[in-house]
């Protein structure tokens, strides 16, 4: 409804067999916002990410990005429009080096095709050099420059999560979806992740994140959406969400008051 909404979901839903994974969810992400999506396991958070990025097609509802409908588009076209993501279960290209992983992120914004590559045309060589330089910059941005030549599969989990963020940023997104970026990180790593998320916003990139680490979520998010069993339970700034009775019930169990 507001004109500045970057991403807008309206009555979005999907079911798998008999299970309504996401029912009728509507919310928006504004430009420059850090928004968090929280909820108990099975609430439909990752499903929602998959719907937004085109990995799944919604049964009903509208998803629009920069005032254009995107539901039903293939994932690579949604990525081209400026939505990138990381994965809850890390999905790196394990047989490729750390640098090469980020270089794949540059795929979208470069154009050397099969023929130009096979013939090693001068402009494609220049493009290749630029891809390398920009990818190194993104690695430095997330703090991984020293690991550029290691195989991605050999990185510790914390570094793998950072690498996924660097790879996603290399696609030059306007909106970045982070799926549990702090899962498996220790306290110092989580602290650095927090700074990184703010630094990403400083670059003018909006962030939508799913996160179980409540202290991190409450600190970074401008706004929080709470999902439970595929329903939108509550939406608002962190301090309201913390006091919201329905949210407390969902997290601590409905019988808690008894």
């Amino acid at each position: 409804m507001s004109a500045s909404a970057m991403l807008s979901l309206q009555d979005v839903g999907i079911s798998f067999g008999g299970l309504q994974a996401v029912k009728k969810v509507s919310f928006q992400v504004q430009a420059g916002q850090i928004k968090a999506l929280i909820g108990p396991n099975g609430a439909g958070k990752t499903t929602l990410f998959n719907l937004i990025t085109g990995m799944l097609r919604p049964d009903h509802g509208l998803i629009s990005f920069l005032d254009q409908p995107i539901q039903g588009l293939p994932p690579f076209q949604i990525a081209a429009r400026g939505i990138s993501r990381t994965f809850q279960i890390v999905q790196l290209f394990g047989h490729m080096t750390v640098l090469e992983n980020v270089m794949v992120g540059r795929h979208l914004r470069t154009r050397a095709g099969l023929l130009a590559a096979a013939l090693r045309l001068p402009w494609s060589r220049r493009e290749e050099a630029a891809i390398r330089a920009q990818s190194l910059e993104w690695l430095a941005f997330v703090g991984l420059p020293a690991r550029a030549d290691d195989y991605a599969a050999n990185l510790p989990l914390g570094h793998q999560r950072l690498l996924e963020i660097a790879r996603a940023l290399a696609t030059e997104p306007k909106l970045l979806l982070l799926d549990e970026p702090a899962a498996g990180l220790d306290m110092t790593e989580t602290e650095r992740l927090k700074d990184l998320i703010f630094a990403i916003r400083e670059k003018g990139i909006s962030v939508l994140l799913v996160e179980h680490d409540m202290s991190l979520t409450m600190e970074v998010a401008d706004d929080i959406v709470v999902l439970d069993h595929g329903d939108l339970l509550a939406e608002g700034p962190p301090r309201d969400i913390q006091r919201h009775p329905a949210v407390i019930a969902a997290y601590l169990g409905r019988d808690w008051e008894r």
Partner: protein, 318 residues
């Protein structure tokens, strides 16, 4: 630096070919080396598809056959110039690859293998049965050699240089493809198609492109076969040959361009060497494959490198 290294490699390759070509003792070795060259061309393409993009094809003998038969039919029956026939064979194979590839590449793993296998069998049967066009089981004889401005690639030496010049060209193209934006995207699809898609890689399109490239390589090799051996029969393009091609890729090493050279060479020469064992040939051949795969699962090139590294470390340690 890297740039000069590439020119150096290419120069070295052609120097070897030139020396080898001028030292060759007899027609037998020329024929064998040419056959190795043709197999290398096909295996390079198949390795781009299998080793890099991770898509299995059990039907590549069909593209080899399409190239060979287009050349044979056009030059022998319709008196078309061999070079034009080669181009026609490439166009036809490319077109067939697109038509087969669009539905087949939507499948994954074993299902893709089955689909390409089916395609390979259909083409093999067609070559066998369409007597009026293909000459049936007896094939084609007297296919003319390539010629440019009246000069023909007729002598064994001329054929050798022609085949290996093209092997060098295809090798360069393949090395370039692997080391590029496209090569990276192919490897990305192989490792995680989901992530590749999320990064904006149009996986379906790229898979199709590389499938077509590999079909073109195979068709090129087929046409070269027709015009250098001057005789073709449908038995060369059957299911068994498709399997052999896949074996060459795997033995040489998946996602290893240099491995493709070795894999194609070894599996082309081995049956010749084993011919002295007569009936036991196939058994020993199979045994060698088993041993290679058990002890060098990453293929000959990487396997031997690993072994060498292992020995060096052991010597240093002891």
């Amino acid at each position: 630096m890297v740039r000069y290294q590439r020119w150096l490699q290419a120069g070295l390759f052609y120097l070897l070919v030139a020396i080898g070509g001028s030292l060759l003792p007899g027609t037998y070795y020329v024929t064998l080396l040419n056959l190795i060259g043709l197999h290398i061309i096909i295996v390079l393409g198949l390795n781009l598809l299998m080793g890099y993009a991770g898509q299995i094809s059990l039907g590549h003998a069909a593209f080899f056959g399409l190239g060979a038969y287009t050349s044979a039919i056009l030059t022998t029956t319709y008196r078309v110039d061999p070079i034009l026939s080669l181009v026609a064979g490439l166009l036809l194979s490319g077109l067939v690859a697109v038509i087969v590839g669009i539905p087949a590449l939507k499948l994954k793993g074993y299902y893709l293998a089955m689909a390409t296998l089916g395609f390979g069998i259909i083409v093999a049967i067609a070559l066998q049965q369409m007597d009026w066009l293909t000459g049936g089981p007896s094939g084609f004889m007297g296919i003319p050699p390539f010629g440019i401005l009246g000069w023909q690639f007729q002598t064994p030496a001329a054929k050798f240089f022609l085949v290996w010049a093209l092997v060098g060209l295809i090798l360069c193209l393949s090395l370039n493809i692997v080391d590029s934006r496209i090569g990276r995207a192919l490897r990305a699809i192989h490792d995680s198609e989901t992530a590749a898609l999320a990064m904006g890689v149009d996986a379906q399109r790229l898979k199709l492109q590389i499938f077509v490239v590999s079909a073109l390589y195979a068709a090129l090799a087929g046409s070269l076969l027709a015009h250098t051996v001057n005789f073709i029969a449908p038995s060369s393009f059957g299911f068994m040959f498709s399997i052999k091609l896949v074996t060459m890729v795997v033995v040489g090493g998946m996602a290893s361009i240099w491995g493709s050279l070795l894999g194609a060479a070894v599996l082309t020469v081995l049956p010749e060497l084993l011919a002295v064992f007569h009936d036991l040939e196939v058994v020993i051949f199979g045994l060698i494959l088993m041993v290679v795969m058990i002890f060098l699962p990453r293929g000959l090139v990487r396997g031997l490198l690993d072994l060498w590294e292992f020995r060096r470390r052991k010597q240093q340690g002891g």
